[in-house]
Symmetry: C2
Subunit: 160 residues, 2 copies
């Protein structure tokens, strides 16, 4: 698997990955009905660096990195990861997260923070924990899950 | 003290309040060198409702409210408060926070979250606690304070 900076030409592949996740509305706090343009503008915003994970020319996953806060908080980065539905379970998210941790260190970030991990996304919570993240906060009933109703969201954090 | 929605004409007074706080860089994770226009655009952004607290026509403080997340997280609001330096200690922040809690309930929000309360801002931490907020998360060394160096930031939360 090769992980590299996303280019303009990756937009259709990125959209194929992120749109189903956004439409499902079960793991990201984003408007499930947002337009394709808004979705791409969100994922590839000017304040983000966006990456793709590909294998034999097929994009299997994508992630972004940005400073989580400005000013006195700009040494902490934030990332979001999404995997192509048909590639889940093959270690794509794990590889992207490992890549992002190495890249964040290279860029001089001192910590990585996930602001809003939906607690019912247990697969993700376990994966982030196995990669060194700790749950440093719990937001009670902060996410309205499309099938589970109001569930907690977690703040996860890792010094680098 | 009267608390009301901010109008365009309040911009100079708002700027007089927020600019020193931003320039000091000790309590908000914002670029301390941001321009006056950027500061106003931040505080009065389209996704925010901005209020002013005034007494005898003098603006003593200002706050904003916005949805903290989109989609499944949009039932939780976020606020930021700033008090005119010369009016600190007169209960302006307390009055604004009480106003915001009532307004948030009125608007149908189910909780209020502060994402990044600098732990050395003890006056604020105590005030928010006295108004019903709990510390639900601690971000280790997430803020670089201009004089104290790296200090923790707190996530505070209150169901409404």
């Amino acid at each position: 698997m090769d992980i590299r900076q996303a280019e303009e030409a990756d937009s259709p592949a990125i959209l194929e990955i992120i749109l189903p996740v956004i439409r499902e509305g079960a793991t990201y706090a984003l408007d499930a009905n947002m337009s394709e343009v808004d979705a791409l503008n969100y994922w590839m915003a000017d304040d983000k660096e966006t990456f793709v994970a590909e294998e034999r020319g097929i994009v299997l996953g994508t992630y972004y990195m940005r400073a989580n806060q400005a000013g006195g908080g700009r040494h902490v980065c934030n990332c979001g990861y999404m995997t192509r539905a048909s590639s889940i379970g093959r270690g794509v998210a794990r590889s992207m997260c490992q890549h992002s941790l190495a890249y964040a260190r290279e860029r001089g970030y001192r910590a990585m923070q996930f602001n809003f991990v939906v607690s019912t996304n247990e697969r993700a919570v376990r994966l982030w924990q196995s990669l060194g993240f700790e749950i440093v906060g719990r937001l009670p009933a902060a996410f309205r899950h499309p099938t589970h109703g109001y569930v907690d969201a977690l703040v996860m954090y890792q010094p680098l």
